[in-house]
């Protein structure tokens, strides 16, 4: 008897890619918030010399505590609002100022994307433990702006970077620009 792979074996990979492309396009073309400019103090860079894709992650501090659900410390899904504080004494000026379950409600409360960033987050107890996604891919055309490849995360390169990040309608981020700002 001649057997053939199930049609799903051919269709599933193609469908998956198509759905990712559609979701990504929806995220960027929907009600995207204005981009926010961050300095190299607010990001951690990873740029391997072995050809692996470079990425960055945001670093932040807490000002407020999320309301506790009291459910045995299980990590729950939510949204965090971050802004750049004026306190220059902290390691990262990016600060969590609000949390919630409804991204639209938070967007209505903090409409300006240039001053307030709304990201999907994992909240444990009263603290934001991780932003989702935890890493932001650096496109090839922006990777040329990065410091020379290093094996470890670079928090403060000798030439200060300005990273412009934008979040879309699905609260998924992308990098708009990376540029240099000469340190005095």
């Amino acid at each position: 008897m001649t057997r053939l792979p199930s049609i799903a074996a051919w269709v599933v990979p193609v469908l998956f890619t198509a759905s990712i492309l559609i979701l990504s396009a929806t995220n960027r073309s929907g009600a995207a918030r204005a981009p926010m400019r961050l300095s190299s103090s607010e990001v951690s860079l990873y740029n391997s010399p072995t050809g692996r894709a470079p990425w960055l992650s945001l670093t932040w501090t807490h000002v407020i505590d999320a309301p506790s659900r009291g459910v045995r410390d299980l990590p729950r899904r939510g949204f965090a609002v971050l802004t750049l504080s004026s306190d220059s004494g902290v390691e990262s000026r990016l600060t969590v100022v609000d949390t919630g379950d409804d991204a639209d409600a938070l967007a209505a409360r903090y409409p300006d994307g240039r001053t307030h960033l709304i990201a999907a987050a994992t909240i444990r107890g009263t603290r934001v433990v991780e932003l989702e996604p935890s890493r932001i891919a650096i496109p090839a055309h922006l990777a040329a702006q990065l410091p020379p490849p290093a094996w470890r995360t670079s928090r403060a390169p000798s030439t200060a970077l300005v990273v412009t990040v934008q979040y879309g309608s699905r609260q998924e981020p992308w990098l708009v620009d990376i540029s240099h700002r000469a340190t005095p």
Partner: protein, 346 residues
């Protein structure tokens, strides 16, 4: 005969019969030559048909070589998967985004194509099973790397996609490794999507491993409807997803989903572990499922050893600890010997 396992069982019966006839003749027992010749001709035709349709191992040497080929197939799949992942990591940054997307989508499709061609050209299908496993690994790589490339939020539905693809790859030629992966992914998806729908991060099922136990138990009856060649692989995977979390939550301080104190939860799961071990071994003996008896026995052994270490290791002299273990093992052997004699006499 619908499955390879049934065909192999029939071939094993023929081989055992032939060995027994040779032994009887060597011991001087008189056997009717005409009848033996008729049986021999019938068995030759049967083995020819079974080998042609199901590629069974007609001799012990052939069976040993098949085991070697299975091991080589598994190693080959792991090595080929590692080579593909390393290659993709190496060339990744030099590709434009469209090229990256095309490469990731093409990888599992190439695996499916290679599997289809190999299954047609090679009757033993060991090479085809290798490509089936590689196709599954390539699809996992596709989902993970596309998610990273487009900065997508993690979702439990990716695990469902893994299960569907692996099942589609495993089903036509009954490849056990992709099927085991499909069943495992399905057992993880059920509690993951439930936690996600309740507003929690879906990966909490790994942080609280007892979340995996009940869905795996509920999937066991469904697995019984799978083709005979795949049932054992699925059952072993699901029982593993029951027993390993049970071992963790009954023996370590890992958190559980139960709304009780940690110590109370651990004692409760220890009682459940004892009941599960006894039930699994008893059911395995009743249903003649060797895999269940083996899994239950290994689980019971590890569980008892952990209990003894927990209770006695800190204060008991080590020689006494191991002496008691040896005495218990001998005691267990004596009990099993008595039970075996009763089964034989019954």
């Amino acid at each position: 005969m619908t499955s390879r396992s049934e065909a192999q069982h029939r071939a094993d019966q023929v081989a055992a019969f032939r060995h027994e006839v040779a032994a009887l003749q060597a011991e001087g027992v008189a056997l009717d030559a005409a009848q033996l010749e008729a049986v021999r001709r019938h068995h030759d035709a049967l083995l020819t048909a079974l080998t042609r349709e199901h590629d069974v191992d007609a001799t012990l040497a052939a069976r040993q070589m098949s085991l070697g080929m299975r091991a080589a197939s598994l190693l080959g799949a792991a090595a080929l998967t590692a080579a593909i992942v390393s290659f993709v990591s190496r060339v990744w940054s030099s590709l434009p985004e469209a090229g990256q997307v095309a490469l990731l989508t093409a990888a599992p499709l190439a695996g499916v194509l290679a599997m289809s061609i190999a299954a047609r050209l090679e009757k033993t299908r060991y090479v085809a099973s290798l490509f089936a496993s590689v196709a599954c690994a390539a699809f996992v790589m596709q989902t993970v790397m596309l998610g990273s490339l487009f900065n997508m939020r993690s979702s439990p539905h990716t695990v469902a996609a893994w299960s569907i693809f692996a099942l589609a790859v495993a089903w036509p030629w009954r490849f056990w490794l992709p099927y085991a992966f499909a069943v495992g992914a399905a057992a993880v998806y059920v509690p993951a999507v439930l936690m996600w729908a309740l507003g929690y991060h879906w990966a909490v099922v790994f942080e609280r491993p007892d979340a995996l136990i009940l869905p795996a138990v509920l999937l066991l009856p469904l697995n019984q409807r799978a083709p005979a060649d795949l049932v054992i692989a699925g059952r072993t995977t699901l029982l593993g997803l029951v027993l390993i979390p049970l071992l963790f939550v009954s023996s370590t301080s890992v958190s559980t989903l139960l709304p009780v104190a940690e110590g109370t939860a651990r004692v409760l799961y220890q009682l459940i572990a004892v009941a599960v071990a006894i039930a699994l071994i008893a059911d395995g003996i009743r249903a003649r499922h060797e895999d269940k008896v083996m899994l239950g026995s290994v689980f019971a052994g590890i569980f008892i050893l952990i209990r003894f270490v927990d209770w006695w290791w800190d204060w008991m002299p080590k020689y006494l600890f191991f002496l008691i273990l040896a005495a218990l093992a001998l005691g267990g052997l004596w009990v099993l010997r008595v039970m075996r004699r009763r089964v034989k006499d019954a």
